[in-house]
Point group: C2
DNA sequence: CGTTATTTTAAACGCTTGTTTAAACTGTCT
DNA sequence: AGACAGTTTAAACAAGCGTTTAAAATAACG
């Protein structure tokens, strides 16, 4: 495995665990078993490393998600919100074959990016991958045409909040669920639990 | 105003803005216009300062929230989930008279605490203020008795995610809403928008 | 007033951070 | 072999961090 990939892998899991600000380059390079200076040699700076970690996931996820949403948008009969949100399941879970713990790592990284570093990652995603959001909005509009653009805006952000926050702390939550309810839960289960929640939320009656 | 309170006020708004890890004692003391060493003199350490900032809010909010939930739990007819969640509105908004921008500051702090510093604030809240959670769960159970304890657990965490995440980025979201929809939105509006969302989410049909 | 306590202050502490430097090493091609 | 690009390395850099120190300033009290 190349130095570059060793760094990316180590950075990814540490970032997901402890956030971007909370992870030092020295932790990354020592987990990756490479020299400290290798990060700046291969990526230029810590910020560029963060972008590289996120891009690796977005480039894998984005086309799958696009295809999945396209099916929803082009099907003949009006989709339900449950169907729209279920379109995320397979693309997200397929990140697990792309990389070990890919799904939860990616969602945790997303969560970190929204709270760490004062929204620079939000800028990065919305400018670098705007079509994902566009298609998603279109799909929701087809499912619930009475929703105004403004309400869609707010409810989609509520949805992102639910998903991202849940996934940021999914490890802790799964541990609690395991000890309190003696039931094994994995990331796929959590996704299946959260979808009816957000679908109902977005579909809430107006006024 | 006492040095101690100057520090608390400055720390509060900086913590809300940039997170606990992202705010240095030097930023706090320079905004508060006090000496750097004053923090360690009055609070002992940065961690204790964080606790003090949160306690100031929890001690204000907790009794109001308890009273509000008690009304719901003791009323004769079964409450709706919308009523249960609406019980949060007044106690949360009353933080605004307690302190300028109190509502959004507090909710942002909550969000920070869940993602920064690997869950030490979660421990702090659940051990120091467990009765708030207990009463809330009871209220939800009255409104939707068919929900299993496990489903309540998950859906309440989804709810916390929605609210906390939304409030963590509420400033940015309100800015976007303002420029995209030319509509003034304040924190009370956001709360009124989020309640139907989470009420519907928690009330989602089973299976 | 003088004598304690309490609070504030400037300076320094040791440590970690991201980044840079310049030398050493590796493999490739003529 | 020699030369050259690419890569790795140890060491140092300046800057920022939370915390501690000891002296100066202020307040409280008999």
């Amino acid at each position: 495995m190349s130095t570059k990939n060793k760094i990316l892998d180590a950075a990814e899991s540490l970032f997901a665990d402890k956030g971007f600000n909370g992870t030092s380059l020295r932790e990354i390079t020592s987990l990756a078993e490479v020299n400290l200076a290798a990060v700046n040699y291969h990526f230029g700076s810590k910020k560029e490393l963060i972008k590289a970690v996120m891009s690796r996931y977005m480039n894998e996820l984005s086309p799958n998600l696009q295809a999945s949403l396209l099916v929803i948008c082009q099907q003949e009969n009006k989709p339900t919100l449950n169907e729209v949100f279920s379109a995320f399941i397979d693309p997200l879970l397929s990140l697990n074959v792309f990389r070990e713990n890919g799904t939860s790592n990616f969602l945790q990284l997303l969560g970190r990016g929204y709270t760490d570093s004062q929204g620079f990652l939000r800028w990065f995603l919305t400018t670098q991958y705007p079509e994902v959001i566009t298609n998603f909005v279109t799909a929701v509009q087809r499912a619930y045409p009475e929703l105004s653009a403004e309400d869609i805006f707010w409810r989609l952000h509520f949805t992102m909040g639910t998903v991202i926050f849940t996934m940021s702390s999914s490890d802790a939550l799964m541990d609690i669920a395991k000890s309190d309810f003696e039931q094994q839960v994995d990331i796929a289960d959590v996704i299946r639990k959260v979808i009816p929640f957000v679908a109902s939320g977005v579909g809430a009656p107006l006024r």
